[in-house]
């Protein structure tokens, strides 16, 4: 047990046999107390002798040993519990194995106060359970405790997870020189059902040394949604990192949206007096982790150690002419902060936001209704387009076999069309009035949008000169920069950048398939570079009914920091399609733009950014250029250690310099500090499974393009098994083959995520996935922030017909309650049931074919199962509580995550429409699917690799 609680210096734990609990004695004063002490002994502190017995004590009455929970606690509790017969243990062969762990870690967690613990091995106390120390660094408490578990069989797993989680969240107290360590709990995964609720758990805490920050603000570390690291402790040497096989990378969404009303986010604090203190040498921004020296006149940079002058305005409020409180400054209290930048940070006066719409008006686009919906959405969004100071400019170009420009003079009420049919040498037919001020030319824009679709109604042109249209738009807005929004329903076949339908079905499923995921023409790459140079970003909206070469077209958004959106089989006559596109397009249009942005990550000396993944152009070794920063996009930056790291913590700082759409130059700075460690077990204890999964996803997509899909899948599995092999050999120090798969508790869902990843549409084996869908899935895999990426890889699965009473209703705190998430296995599907599977892009409502008519009536308003139509649909809102609850859950799911996506609802009948059915079933990743292994088989594969065969 000694590894469970680490006492601060000067404390000792003694067993009190009368009360069956530990009593803690402060050695210097002889004072005793029941609570686990968290403060080191200072000789005299207020003696709080609390007689409160520890709740945990009651758990371990000998009579209750048969309960699985107690047994697990015992198993993990220490050496003294092998009296339990092996056969009765529900954990399978897990018994002897934690002892290894315990013994190995003994010296590391050894504290003087616990010297006697081994001498009293019969005591089943686990003070850590009962005494929950305050959670560290504002980390939210784990949400498990409240979750109801509907399956008795799952209970031990969940309870165990709860216990582990609690242990991890609390700090272990200060050992030795005040250095805190993560507690490693080893769990065996073989034969256990994964606890999927753990996917929303926060990363392991950053156990910073005390006084690392100059202020005691709770906001000195960023929220994981802004930035998280695959390891929450930094290894001190590269060789240690290499030895551990753990990846070291930052996962960030620095310009993530702010949803105060849904998530209760705090807005980013803004430093308004444009006093920006930066290190003279490394250009780092002042942050909570610097140290003030020379009586507070100078500050020492936490990255390079240079001493810099503190600006006088830190202590003097110039506006009100009175002394100011330096410690109240936002940059010293907040990890995420925005500075208003003075003119030195501008290359030119802040430019207005510019939107150029390039709309495909070929016959197919008109027929699908795309043009009509797009025009109507733009029209409706004209008030929402960021236009705070009436400077926003707009241009509209329609593209079919020729380019149609629209002259929109400020005083006109009608637009006039100018047609250019020269596609090879694109020129602008008119120097003015093509790119116009949105406010001034509003009447002309409105009238044009109102009739855009009708204008081309009768044209029967087949062919799309998208490339030329993009070039024209680029010429039009290149001088200012801004955003090109391209909407196309057909493959570009004319002019510059013409593409061929190259989706040869013979290539699918072979090693050559990766060529279909790479760009077919270099035009889009070269053009992307041109755009990036002139601060133009491109968003692609693709409406395919047939092959549109997403892989090639998505190059443009990838290198210009845009985003690709795909609407397969779009048909506006289906209201679901139209609503989905209109909602998402409207959100994209109203999204605030950060223009002319650059991102740079700075870090403590010795750390180097070695590779970058995401949608941007890498302008120099450490500078990312983004013509427009999109909200809620994810970037992954790999780190390397060039030199050994000396200090007790390191600081990583991301800065985005951008122009807001209301003409202000701003710098958003995100500072993160991490403790250093030289122990491999501490590295494993601090690994963040979600961040690692995000990193592996990006690496796998990159690999699938440069090598092959097969290779990408193998890389994921190999990385995972390498990590676990090192963990097994170095941390648990058990050698030789083993029947178990040992993983640290904080990585216990990583194998599940890896298993789901290799079965994801973007990487899945098989010849049945259209290359467009695959390419689009890969775009999403590399751009979705963790919050959406995790469900995209590992969908959420709820059972609706027997959900708890509070699910689908609003609880006391005003939050919509979702049903408990289930494991993704078809064992959970019942023939009479109603289930919901969602992967943040689609929602599937699964209806069992023996569903009682009452259920069908309540939810769908139909008489029986036979009348029910499968496919894309909208759930009716009926006048009964169950229908309302189901609708509430669907709506909650849609707004659960940041981002513009509005998932479709598909009704899946369990005995009809095999394609839709197998699509929905393919999301149940714990199952065996075609010849892809089930979760259990995957674990066995990994275990065999870990064992070295």
């Amino acid at each position: 047990m000694s590894q469970e609680v680490m006492l601060p210096q000067g404390w000792e734990a003694r067993w009190d046999s009368q009360s069956n609990a530990y009593v803690y004695v402060e050695q210097s004063t002889g004072r005793s107390q029941w609570e686990v002490p968290t403060q080191p002994s200072y000789g005299s502190s207020n003696p709080s002798v609390s007689p409160a017995p520890q709740p945990a004590a009651s758990h371990h009455r000998p009579g209750r040993r048969q309960y699985p929970t107690a047994q697990i606690q015992q198993v993990y509790g220490g050496g003294g519990y092998d009296t339990q017969p092996q056969a009765q243990q529900p954990m399978g062969g897990a018994s002897g194995y934690p002892d290894h762990n315990a013994q190995q870690q003994q010296p590391q967690y050894f504290t003087p106060g616990f010297g006697g613990a081994d001498a009293q091995p019969q005591q089943p106390q686990q003070p850590a359970y009962g005494q929950q120390p305050p959670s560290y660094g504002g980390t939210p408490a784990p949400p498990y405790g409240q979750q109801q578990q509907p399956y008795p069989g799952q209970q031990p797993v969940d309870q165990m997870a709860n216990q582990f989680q609690q242990m991890n969240v609390g700090y272990g107290g200060g050992a030795g020189g005040g250095k805190q360590l993560h507690q490693i709990q080893t769990v065996n995964l073989i034969g256990m059902q994964p606890d999927v609720t753990g996917l929303v758990a926060p990363p392991p805490p950053y156990l910073l040394p005390p006084n690392a920050a100059v202020t005691a603000s709770p906001h000195i570390q960023p929220d994981p949604s802004y930035q998280r690291c695959t390891l929450t402790s930094m290894p001190t040497t590269q060789s240690l990192l290499n030895k551990s096989k753990l990846p070291l990378a930052l996962v960030m969404a620095p310009y993530r949206s702010f949803r105060g009303e849904v998530d209760g986010d705090d807005p980013v604090p803004v430093v308004e007096d444009s006093v920006i203190a930066r290190c003279r040498r490394c250009r780092a921004y002042i942050n909570p982790f610097v140290t003030f020296i020379e009586g507070g006149n100078r500050w020492k940079c936490c990255m390079c150690g240079l001493s810099n002058e503190v600006p006088q305005l830190f202590d003097w409020n110039q506006a009100e002419n009175k002394p100011a409180d330096r410690w109240a400054r936002k940059e010293l209290n907040h990890s995420v902060v925005e500075f208003i930048a003075p003119t030195e940070y501008m290359v030119r006066p802040p430019q207005p936001p510019v939107y150029a719409f390039v709309i495909d008006v070929s016959q197919q686009a008109i027929q699908s209704g795309m043009v009509a919906v797009a025009a109507r959405t733009i029209l409706e969004s004209l008030d929402n387009i960021p236009n705070a100071d009436n400077r926003t400019k707009v241009a509209i170009i329609a593209v079919s076999t020729s380019l149609h420009f629209f002259s929109l003079p400020a005083d006109a009420t009608e637009a006039s069309m100018l047609v250019v049919s020269d596609l090879t040498d694109v020129f602008l037919p008119k120097p003015v009035d093509l790119l116009v001020n949105l406010t001034e030319s509003r009447p002309a824009i409105e009238s044009l949008l109102g009739k855009l679709s009708d204008m081309f109604q009768d044209s029967h042109t087949v062919g799309n000169a998208l490339g030329s249209g993009l070039q024209a738009a680029h010429q039009l807005i290149g001088k200012i920069g801004g955003k090109i929004i391209a909407l196309t329903a057909t493959l570009p076949t004319l002019g510059e950048g013409a593409l061929k339908a190259r989706d040869d079905p013979k290539l699918l499923g072979t090693s050559k398939e990766s060529s279909l995921l790479n760009a077919a023409s270099s035009f889009y790459k070269t053009f992307a570079i041109e755009c990036s140079k002139q601060q133009v970003a491109v968003d692609m909206f693709l409406f395919s009914t047939s092959y549109t070469d997403v892989a090639t077209l998505s190059c443009l958004p990838r290198y210009t920091a845009g985003q690709t959106y795909l609407y397969p089989g779009f048909n506006a006559s289906r209201s679901e399609d139209a609503i989905k596109f209109a909602t998402e397009f409207g959100k994209v249009l109203s999204m605030p733009m950060g223009l002319e942005a650059v991102i740079r990550v700075r870090a403590t000396r010795g750390i180097r950014m070695s590779a970058f993944h995401g949608n941007f152009f890498i302008r120099s070794t450490d500078l990312l250029a983004l013509p427009v920063v999109p909200t809620d996009q994810n970037y992954v930056i790999e780190l390397q250690l060039e030199d050994d790291i000396k200090g007790s913590f390191v600081v990583l700082q991301t800065a985005i310099l951008h122009t807001t759409c209301y003409g202000e130059r701003r710098i958003r700075v995100i500072t993160q500090a991490m403790p250093t460690t030289d122990s491999i077990s501490e590295l494993y204890g601090s690994a963040d499974q979600i961040a690692i999964a995000t990193y592996l996803t990006n690496k796998a997509v990159e690999r699938s393009m440069s090598h092959s899909l097969d290779d990408a899948r193998n890389t994921v599995t190999k990385n995972l098994s390498d990590m676990l092999a090192v963990y097994k050999n170095q941390v648990t120090s058990s050698s030789g083959a083993s029947a178990q798969l040992a993983v640290p508790e904080n990585l216990k869902l990583l194998p599940l995520l890896c298993c789901a990843l290799v079965k994801h549409v973007g990487l899945r084996e098989g010849a049945s996935i259209p290359p467009d869908l695959r390419a689009y899935a890969q775009c999403l895999l590399t751009t979705l922030p963790c919050q959406s990426l995790v469900p995209y890889i590992h969908p959420r699965f709820y059972s609706l017909h027997n959900m708890p009473n509070d699910a689908g209703n609003i609880n006391e705190t005003g939050q919509m309650v979702l049903p408990p998430a289930l494991n993704l296995t078809s064992e959970r599907l019942e023939r009479h049931g109603l289930f919901l599977i969602e992967d943040s892009q689609n929602i599937f409502i699964w209806v069992g074919h023996e569903a009682v008519p009452r259920l069908i009536q309540d939810v769908f308003g139909l008489n029986n199962y036979g009348e029910l139509q499968g496919g894309k649909s909208t759930l009716p809102i009926l006048d009964n509580p169950f229908s309302q609850r189901v609708n509430n859950i669907v709506n909650k799911t849609r707004e659960l995550r940041r981002g513009v996506y509005r998932p479709h609802v598909y009704v899946v009948k369990s005995d009809a429409e095999p394609a839709l059915r197998s699509w929905a079933l393919s999301l149940l990743v714990e199952d065996r699917m075609d010849h892809m292994s089930s979760y259990a088989q995957y674990l066995t594969t990994v275990k065999n690799k870990v064992n070295g065969n």
Partner: protein
């Protein structure tokens, strides 16, 4: 001076030119690493030299083949094959979007080519002198 002498004199000059091209490439790559040049300019600049370098080398190899210098030809043939393969796969040009990811590979390739041209320079020089000596005999 006979045919062989002239051939190797030409080869020496070509090897020297190729040598300098490679030195230029390596300098440019280090410039990129030190942030003296941006990747777009770098690629525009280097891409002008990629094909000329390959053609020059292929031409030299062809000369060896036609004049029956088998050893010299065999020495150069693998590199010609490598270049042709690269052109066929369409990845002979430097790509500004990928350059940072592939930089270490490009540098390594340039260094190997540099070494190769250096060795061949001295080999051609030796053969030239040999040819001149055998003529004067």
């Amino acid at each position: 001076m006979g045919g062989e002498g002239w051939l190797f004199l030409f080869a020496v000059l070509m090897a020297a030119v190729l040598l300098f091209t490679m030195v230029f490439f390596i300098i440019m790559f280090s410039d990129l690493e030190c942030d003296y040049i941006n990747p777009i300019d770098l690629c525009n600049k280097l891409n002008q030299f990629v094909l000329p370098e390959m053609i020059a080398h292929a031409f030299l190899t062809l000369c060896f083949l036609l004049s029956g210098q088998w050893l010299a030809f065999l020495l150069n043939a693998p590199l010609v094959g490598y270049n042709v393969n690269k052109i066929m796969a369409k990845n002979h040009m430097y790509d500004a979007t990928e350059i940072f990811r592939t930089l270490s590979g490009h540098k390594k390739e340039s260094f190997i080519k540099l070494g190769f041209y250096l060795v061949s320079f001295f080999y051609y020089l030796y053969r030239m002198i040999l040819a001149l000596i055998s003529e004067s005999d």
